[in-house]
């Protein structure tokens, strides 16, 4: 089961003269929860944007299931089975919660431009949408306008939308940011559950969560990869300690 699902090879992306991502190589194994940590501005979001096709690298190549996807567009990449979430909430505020999720689920239905849709497909669509909303504990919010939901709920909806597209690889950009304690525990639980069937690339600032659930960790600083390894290897890495993790963080995780 431990074969490579995604291989990013030597990616570089500049914004003007600023190198946001520099010679980054990443190997994601099928079924492994891989986390990326790093200080603000390290280039984590940019890396995810490169992998999901929102941006194209200046240099380097991305292979997904042995297929080159470097120059593909976001919709093509999504249809290959890579789902992503956004650091800034990115939902359709005027839709209800259910409609947002339905829009996502719908993208996997094979219809003629969504102009004709059989009754069976509509039913399937509803089931899929409900299943995704249930997974993130949002079923009770079906008819609420997305814009009026709480921040945490909007984050959950964001997750439900990815799940509704039934991806194999999930790229999650800080899914826990700004969430309350209880909500974030629910999501961590969900992530662990998802990790059993999916490959996850998780960008997260919440160190407790990351060290608790990630099997592989990559530390990024200033657009470069500092270290990759298991949580123990990262904790004990001198380079990482110096550059990023304060000692107290380490203590907390070991204690």
């Amino acid at each position: 089961m431990n074969d490579t699902i995604l291989h990013a090879d030597n990616l570089t992306k500049h914004f003007g003269v600023l190198p946001a991502v520099q010679n980054v190589s990443l190997l994601l194994k099928r079924g492994v929860l891989h986390a990326i940590i790093g200080p603000n501005g390290a280039g984590k979001t940019t890396l995810i944007n490169l992998l999901s096709g929102e941006l194209h690298p200046d240099q380097g190549a991305i292979r997904y299931r042995n297929k080159e996807i470097t120059q593909l567009l976001p919709d093509q990449i999504s249809r290959l089975g890579i789902g992503r979430s956004y650091q800034k909430i990115n939902i359709i505020p005027s839709f209800t919660c259910f409609e947002n999720c339905q829009l996502a689920a719908q993208s996997r239905l094979i219809t003629f431009m969504g102009l004709f849709c059989s009754g069976k497909q509509v039913k399937e669509l509803h089931e899929r949408t409900e299943k995704a909303l249930e997974m993130v504990h949002l079923s009770h919010r079906n008819k609420t306008a997305a814009a009026t939901m709480s921040y945490g709920e909007q984050r959950q909806l964001e997750l439900a939308m990815i799940l509704a597209t039934e991806p194999e690889l999930l790229l999650l950009d800080e899914p826990l940011a700004g969430m309350g304690n209880q909500e974030s525990n629910q999501i961590i639980e969900l992530l662990q559950k998802l990790a059993k069937q999916h490959t996850l690339l998780l960008v997260e600032h919440d160190m407790d969560a990351v060290f608790a659930i990630a099997q592989q960790l990559t530390v990024m600083v200033n657009g470069k990869i500092l270290e990759t390894g298991t949580s123990n290897q990262i904790r004990n890495s001198d380079a990482v300690q110096k550059a990023y993790l304060g000692n107290n963080v380490i203590m907390k995780n070991e204690g």
Binding site: P74, N90, I92, S94, T96, R108, G114, L115, A145
Partner: protein
Amino acid sequence: MALRPESSVFPFQTDTMISEKKSIYFFIIFLLLALFPWIIEESFYLEQLTRILILGVFAMSLDLLVGYTGIVSLGHAAFYGVGAYTLACVFQSADVINFWYALPLSLAASALSATIIGWLSIRTSGVYLLMITLAFGQMCYFFYLESPYCNGSDGILLLNKPEILWGAYNLLDLENETHFYFFVLGWFVAVFLLLKRILQAPFGQIIQGICANESRVRGLGYSTPTYKLVSFVIAGTLAGLAGFLEAAHTGFVTPAYSHWHQSGMLLVILILGGIRTLHGPVLGAAAIVLLEDLLPNITDHWKLLMGLLIIVIVLFLPNGTVSFFTRIPTQSAIQYKNKKHE
């Protein structure tokens, strides 16, 4: 989207109860429209209503584009002109206009031109989109003005109405005003129901999603340019239908059909009536036709008056005239609720 009113957080009908109640209203209105020739027998008003319905079809088609897809076009009249000129050019010297050939030809021509113009336009957005659609619209206008087939600014006079034959039997006699009214009403209702259906289908949700947040919809796996193009082509084809109806109605086609004034006027109608509803544009069309008719009786400077009126409506009813009708029930509902709590 500049044209999107801030206050409309819930533009989408999800509550089946409300939408059922709404369909009853629509049914009653359609019924009244069907009975109109017997209710008011004066042919002047029938004529006006025919104009309103044709303009209504035209305005609804633009609303699909502007209100629901977020493509603000200043060249929509191009397709109105294509629909009209296809009829006029092909059949100007024909003794008999066979409806079964004429309409599909007009629709095909407008669909084709919408595909080409749409394909080139949808890549842009904002002011650039306005400019490129404006340019295409004016290109069509000048084509009709200069082309040797189109008789320049004099336009083309159609001596006959299309004939809708079924075997040897004439289904509708379009020379007859009442028959023509029913012909137009039939198309109006068909277009209304078709658009309603399209908007409720997944396609409708997708384009409304694109209107609100295109990159997000793209990230979900939709090839958004394709959806925008399809929406553009549907809207263009329906505008062609409106052009065909208008040409058949007046029997006279001039380059003015495609002038940017026409496109601009249509945008005004949308904003006046209420964007992102299907009945709003029709209401706007009715308002414009009636005002154009009534105001000249009051003053010679009626265009000034009309401009003022438009400004007043936009200022006080930012969601268009339809909000005047939706606002009253909500307020009485609130009062009712408050009373219940007392």
